[in-house]
């Protein structure tokens, strides 16, 4: 298959920080509409992988294609404009803007308002309607004018997802969306994520195995900067190398 047929096509991706190689030749192909969970022990490089895909860091080697366009080495905003959006493990919102303003900021570029200084925000019907719509979808309408920094943690996590999704990107990376939530919150939140990411190509880093099996069509297991398995949940569960990695007895040479 050629690169264009995948939503996301990662080939031989490497990343070194100084002499330390964090990502050591990752290959991953995700087809459109697929929901992939990325799991792996702490320090395996999951977040680094996301940072490379989303343009936060430039890779040391290898290639990344988004819908057939090469994106490795591009700036985050360029990648975002090509239709890839991401959320952050540590909540990354606009703390001094209201919930509504946060979401409106997230939709402005995708609706083509760019750097406009000749149209009033109040008159941008499309942007306002879309921001209102997303506020409903993430259940924050009652907090419309609350500053993001005054929201509860769970609400901030929902806003984080809202900002990520509102721009309409087709490929979405969620970095530990349920991080720091308790069980009941997590359950509700997974429902929300499923709802708002419906039909999108989804990659999610997740620790909670319940979440992983509930959310993903396929699971990629990242251990020491390499993907050791990429398959359906059942097959991954049965995979010997994965079991080894998760039992903590990693092979000495790999």
């Amino acid at each position: 298959m050629n690169a264009a047929s995948y939503s996301l096509d990662i080939q031989g991706l490497t990343k070194q920080f100084g002499k330390t190689e964090i990502i050591r030749g990752v290959n991953l192909q995700v087809t459109a509409g697929e929901r992939v969970a990325i799991i792996g022990p702490n320090g395996a490089g999951k977040s680094t992988l996301f940072n490379l895909i989303s343009g936060r860091f430039a890779p040391s080697g290898g290639s990344i294609h988004l819908n057939g366009h090469r994106i490795d080495g591009c700036k985050p905003f360029e990648i975002n404009r090509m239709g890839l959006s991401r959320s952050f493990q540590i909540t990354n919102i606009f703390p001094k803007l209201s919930v509504f303003e946060n979401l409106r900021c997230a939709v402005l570029w995708s609706l083509g308002h760019r750097y406009s200084c000749w149209s009033f925000l109040g008159n941008l019907k499309d942007a306002n309607a879309l921001a209102e719509n997303w506020m409903q979808r993430i259940r924050l309408t009652s907090k419309r004018d609350t500053l993001a920094m005054n929201l509860t943690y769970a609400e901030q996590r929902a806003l984080e997802i809202g900002i990520t999704m509102a721009g309409g990107a087709e490929v979405v990376l969620l970095d530990e969306p349920t991080a720091g939530m308790n069980n009941s919150e997590t359950e509700r939140f997974i429902g929300l994520i499923k709802e708002v990411t419906h039909g999108k190509t989804l990659l999610a880093v997740e620790h909670d195995m319940g979440v992983v099996f509930g959310l993903a069509d396929k699971i990629a297991v990242l251990v020491y900067g390499e993907i050791i398995a990429f398959d359906t949940p059942d097959k991954v569960r049965a995979n010997a190398r994965v079991q080894e990695a998760y039992l903590g007895s990693l092979p000495e040479d790999h």
Partner: protein
């Protein structure tokens, strides 16, 4: 009509104030000051587009207002010599375009970075331009500066810009339009994304915006309005000297924008007014005015980082809940403490300045209706005592004030969810 008034009432009021001000304050001094206030308001607002709206701490904003001044005064001279056919009333736009041009040129480098690096680069740019002003005396006029006569060209409907009042109305017109445009800017996509860049530049990059472009565009707009202020200054003073691009001027924009309050749109308007009051009146009253200004700045940074506008808005919020009367005793106490400190510190400062500068005139100097004597130990002792008592009262009242203030804030925060639920 009522709807229109509630929506634009503030703007009608603002226009009215600008219109009647020179008929209320009729002296020559107040007319000059009013003119300077208009200019300072535009300059501080344009600076706050960077500082308050965009989180860019610039140390070199005077470059753009100053270059605006120089281009405007050269244009004014060209009009006088008949080389240029422009009415004097559009000269501020010449200044604006010059400021904008330099912002396009220098801002491209400056806005590549944010935070501390941005500040450092603006400082470098300011030094560079100031150094150039001493090198190219052809353009910058050397020590004497460049002077011009604003009464040139055909008088339009009897407007010659000779009398100060006519100049004032030109400045008032530009002030009103500039304030309105800069306010409008805060309500546009660029204005909002500028706030977003200030709060969280990283996330901005992940919603499709190039933070560098947002900063650069804001910088260019700020340069344009700074240039307008500069152009108006050239018409008002009819002389431009190198200090208009100097570091002291840049520092004044920063200081007074902060004093006025960078977090609210109208803060720099107060800042601009304060700037003229300080430069024209305070400097008349005392030689040590810069010292006092520095102390006030220090106090504001520590105790009221929201500036004057922040203080006003916080107290208005409290006043709405009716809790302001609980703060009144503390405010009275603070006023007494301030009075004591001002009397004590003022007397000490004035005596030291007197010893340094005017010792030949004898040991006596007037101070707020009293006569101080630098030879008498008792004068020093009493001043020191006043200052110490003032400081002690201030600290005591401040603690009490902080307690009451904290209580009121908690009550307001608790009242909030109750209102939302209802």
């Amino acid at each position: 009509m009522a709807n229109l008034l509630s929506r634009y009432g503030v703007w009608f009021g603002f226009a009215l104030v600008l219109l009647v001000a020179p008929w209320v304050f009729t002296s020559n001094l107040s007319q000059t000051m009013l003119s300077q206030m208009g200019i300072a308001i535009i300059a501080c607002l344009s600076y706050n587009l960077l500082l308050g709206q965009g989180g860019m701490l610039s140390f070199g904003h005077a470059v753009y207002s100053g270059m605006g001044s120089y281009f405007a005064i050269h244009a004014l001279n060209a009009i006088g010599q008949g080389h240029l056919a422009l009415p004097v009333s559009v000269l501020p736009l010449v200044g604006g375009l010059a400021g904008m041009g330099f912002a396009i040129l220098l801002g491209y480098v400056t806005t590549k970075k944010s935070g501390t690096t941005f500040s450092m680069i603006t400082l470098g740019m300011a030094e560079l331009v100031f150094a150039m002003s001493l090198m190219f005396s052809e353009f910058f006029g050397g020590e004497a500066g460049v002077s011009a006569n604003r009464v040139v060209g055909e008088a339009f409907m009897g407007i010659t810009f000779g009398p100060q009042r006519q100049v004032y109305y030109l400045i008032a017109f530009y002030t009103f339009v500039s304030v309105a445009l800069l306010y409008a800017l805060t309500q546009t996509p660029l204005g909002r994304m500028l706030n977003a860049v200030r709060d969280n530049p990283e996330r901005v990059e992940f919603v499709g915006y190039n933070t560098q472009q947002v900063r650069y565009r804001a910088f260019i707009i700020a340069g344009f309005f700074a240039g307008i202020a500069g152009g108006l200054g050239a018409i008002n003073f009819e002389i431009v000297t190198a200090e208009v691009v100097g570091p002291a001027r840049s520092g004044a924009y920063l200081l007074f924008t902060f004093l006025g309050g960078a977090t609210f749109f109208f803060g720099p308007i107060l800042g601009g007014i304060l700037m003229v009051l300080a430069f024209v009146l305070l400097s008349e009253i005392t030689k040590a005015w810069l010292l006092y200004l520095g102390l006030v700045f220090l106090f504001m940074v520590v105790y009221a980082p929201g500036g004057l506008a922040g203080l006003i808005m916080m107290n208005l919020r409290i006043a709405k809940t009716g809790a302001l009367k609980r703060l009144l005793p503390s405010y009275a106490g603070l006023a007494v403490a301030m009075g004591l400190m001002l009397a004590g510190a003022g007397a000490l400062v004035e005596m030291i300045y007197h010893l340094q500068l005017n010792a030949a005139n004898g040991p006596e100097l007037p101070f707020a209706g009293w006569v101080l004597n630098t030879d008498r130990g008792s004068t020093w002792g009493v001043s020191l005592a006043l200052l110490s008592v003032g400081l002690a009262v201030f600290e005591t009242v401040r603690r009490r004030f902080a307690l009451v203030w904290g209580d009121i804030q908690t009550e307001m925060a608790q009242a909030q969810p109750a209102k939302e639920a209802a």
